[in-house]
Symmetry: D2
Subunit: 143 residues, 4 copies
Amino acid sequence: MSEATREERLDAVRAFAQTSPYYKSMGMELAEVAEGSVVLRVEIRPAHLNADGIVHGGVLPAIADGAMGNSLRTLHGAAAQVLTAEVHLHYLRPVTRGALLARGNVVQSGRRLSFAEVEITEESTGKAVARGSGVFVIDSAAG
Amino acid sequence: MSEATREERLDAVRAFAQTSPYYKSMGMELAEVAEGSVVLRVEIRPAHLNADGIVHGGVLPAIADGAMGNSLRTLHGAAAQVLTAEVHLHYLRPVTRGALLARGNVVQSGRRLSFAEVEITEESTGKAVARGSGVFVIDSAAG
Amino acid sequence: MSEATREERLDAVRAFAQTSPYYKSMGMELAEVAEGSVVLRVEIRPAHLNADGIVHGGVLPAIADGAMGNSLRTLHGAAAQVLTAEVHLHYLRPVTRGALLARGNVVQSGRRLSFAEVEITEESTGKAVARGSGVFVIDSAAG
Amino acid sequence: MSEATREERLDAVRAFAQTSPYYKSMGMELAEVAEGSVVLRVEIRPAHLNADGIVHGGVLPAIADGAMGNSLRTLHGAAAQVLTAEVHLHYLRPVTRGALLARGNVVQSGRRLSFAEVEITEESTGKAVARGSGVFVIDSAAG
């Protein structure tokens, strides 16, 4: 874990999410942030849809990766680079509209590898839409 | 496999990619299409980047899912809905700019489940950026 | 869900575990069984070890698959065949001896696909050793 | 890559497979070994079967992990410990008897992480039974 204080680390995650071009283009915002856990919120837009009106299968792992990566950033602060090594996602239910919440949690953050998990739910119903996990490498020397 | 002719099925994939709002928003285009195999091309834009200038970890599974889903669409035609059940991706190399090519191939398309694989390479160097696989359900009654 | 009563279904899982040659050869036994959830217990034997004295990487997904498959059998009864379509496992900690507990839980059991998750812990310390998930197909016509 | 000569490294893999208690108990033997690639052969025994006569879903990832781990051992020699971080497997076809061949190939072996892939086929027909991939950590200091 980084030597930055807890508040410095959480502020770094907030700043990362606010300045990331990708977050803007996806309509992702940080809804909650705590040590080892974040919630991203994404309002479904026409740009997320397939030609058949269903949210494209690529949108969910994108949100999932963001939620997991940020859950790890809360432990490692602004100087660390969080690199995804592997992402895995189960799709439980197709989605067409509304907003999605993705809760990412750190499972284990080790010297060489870190593990996180994610659950994506529909905001209006609370129903699970997807569940996944990932392997990450933290490059502390990046800053 | 659908009763549509081979050409009708490949045309349906081209039309799907051209009319999908998600493809436009991601800058994805269909570069090659054949029976059981497609190549998607994505030019990296500022909107794909993280705050640290690296392509966001969520961009690659999004492209991967698109390439695999379309490889299955070439076998099943316009009437079928291709639903992602699971996506898995290994990240081999971080990317910052240029264009990416994602080649999706059908591994097996069964009555209940279909399997596909994908490799994403850098267009300029041909180097592998990510490799993955997925499980899909084909809803032939969808049309 | 099968029309068999809850007790008939749980008994069928117990019988399956007791008569399965694979369970005997692996030293796996059913430690707990409830609707949608089971715990398998495996005492680590010399036959599970690699040449370097660490439990072989293949032992954990074997136990994981067993725990997830049986969690689904508790919902579908003796007549159903549970076929694994995909297994995914994260390894959190190497193990050398003692006993392992694998808790499998059904995440969702649908008409075409079912999803389950698993956590494997060291019995003596309760520490997580591995976490995973899987996709399964239930063949109700099998019986 | 280890400083041992190519032949020393391949011999180390042969010795590892021959002395591993797990390989004996599973009936796994090294059928081919080359730099970055191995084939394991497993004759299906009653001990691999479920109560319904189908090879248990846990047998295939066990073989898959062995084939991938050994493909990495061919690059790193006897002094290195190959630790599995993640395994992922698609099941393409149920198996009941005969012998299986698992070909493991190194995809990339980096300083921090290594990636491998595996295909399991039926020996008699050559048909693909399962395909998978994994993330590994090489502990060169282990020796």
